[in-house]
Assembly symmetry: C2
DNA sequence: GCCATTCAGGTACGATGTACGCAAATGCAC
DNA sequence: GTGCATTTGCGTACATCGTACCTGAATGGC
């Protein structure tokens, strides 16, 4: 038969429970993926090698290939499993701003719980069911605001861009602090990494230096900082929603009841 | 002496032209980096292995380690070399909006010329001189608008997030079209990749499906699409600049045109 | 009980980054 | 010019990776 190779893991469903001859499978995609996620959470995604995952499950590396064609596909599965941490109601509430804020905060939580998630997600174009679910929710939140689907897609993209970027920045801090081996609290106060320190002291980039020095005196928690930027993005979205713009220009934050 | 390991390649300058004994170096960091960039441009960053780069230079793999401590550092050097393609005037012009738009368009051009750049840039927290130069320019564009340095940093981050995300989406299309082996024009018209097609036909994600189907009828070039989103982001920034806000309240942001 | 079918997983191979060591090249002291 | 300390070029070697292939064990239908 024409066994055309599937373009993605999502086109190749796991072998179902059948009633024919042959040995029963002892593992499952989900089980394997979960083990990989656990390793990646604890030691980074590069530690989640095929041998290591298999070892964690008490089997041999090659056994995994009965469930997953390539390691890259396993990465897609990991992304999707991690995205299932993003808890959302079945349908948007009608308050688009609250819905999108919830989405962003949930995404941040998932991104911090799985520090490899955002990097992986933005490195490879994957579209697993969980990602589709989240994306559909975002589009649904903007549905009924008078925006066309193309505009909604663009705005959701803009929100995603901010969310991913902000999470990445937050993780970058944490990782740099860990890599230099200093505890984050002390590091934030009087240290900035040897290289950044040298750049600042060189005086060659005065505005960058000012931003570094000021950020040390800014007593915002990462979460507060995230919400602050998020509010900016949501304001920007609000400014582009036609039905809101005609009514109130000074406080476009309140919801639009869905009829 | 206390040879503390440098935290980044930027702390370890290339050995300068000295006047002592010993063989003269036959290559240079820039030469090696340039060869690596050329390979990555043509065949992807994963093709730029140490052996391959060395081969391109007509030498052995281990020779490269006289100039670069690890391959990861070479990736940082590649990022910085690619960022030097971003051509900017020495100082901002005073028109912040024009300056930031120029920056974004230059970044897009560099990102398209080096399809690996954005992925690499957002995967690893690097801060080479070229990146610092570009970042300083962005902060300078917003300097004098009445914004504090922290707000400027936040807004520049927001702009970068959009720029990177938009470039990534654009490249994702191109790559998917290439991977499925169809010419992009035809692909955009009547094809969408087997998996996306199946998702659309399943009817399970109606808004996502609508966005896919509508995007096929939207006759915007990628560049137009990019500029459209960019204008939205710049509008959002404009809305947060105090000096503008007091002056013209009637144009905080243009509403989306319903065509 | 035979047999087609399926899974478990050991062995092996090519490719990768890179540690080590040695030969060749080079400028300085004499 | 002649050693000599120093630096570069790079071949060899090794650990580790993804994964192709193959054999043996398990399983249910006939």
């Amino acid at each position: 038969m024409a066994d055309e190779e599937p373009t993605s893991i999502w086109m190749l469903p796991e072998r179902q429970e059948r009633s024919g001859p042959g040995r029963r499978p002892g593992y499952s995609r989900e089980q394997i993926t979960r083990a990989a996620v656990l390793i990646a959470d604890a030691e980074g995604v590069e530690a989640a090698t095929m041998r290591r995952i298999a070892g964690e499950l008490g089997t041999g590396a090659m056994s995994l290939y009965r469930y997953v064609p390539r390691r890259d596909d396993l990465l897609d599965l990991m992304i999707d499993l991690a995205m299932s941490d993003v808890e959302l109601p079945d349908a948007p509430s009608g308050d688009w701003r609250a819905d999108l804020a919830l989405l962003a905060r949930q995404t941040r939580a998932a991104g911090l719980r799985h520090p490899w998630l955002i990097t992986l997600l933005t490195s490879r174009p994957t579209l697993g069911p969980q990602l589709l679910r989240v994306h559909e929710f975002a589009l649904g939140a903007l549905d009924g605001t008078g925006l066309g689907i193309d505009d909604s897609t663009g705005l959701v993209g803009m929100l995603d861009d901010y969310t991913h970027g902000a999470i990445r920045r937050e993780l970058g801090w944490l990782e740099e602090a860990r890599r230099t081996g200093l505890d984050p609290e002390r590091w934030k106060r009087d240290y900035m990494g040897p290289y950044v320190r040298r750049v600042v002291e060189s005086g060659e980039f005065p505005l960058f230096s000012r931003s570094v020095l000021d950020s040390r005196t800014a007593h915002l928690t990462p979460e507060e900082r995230f919400r602050h930027g998020l509010d900016r993005v949501l304001d920007a979205i609000a400014a582009l929603i036609p039905s809101l713009r005609t009514r109130s220009a000074e406080r476009p934050a309140r919801p639009l009841r869905r009829s």
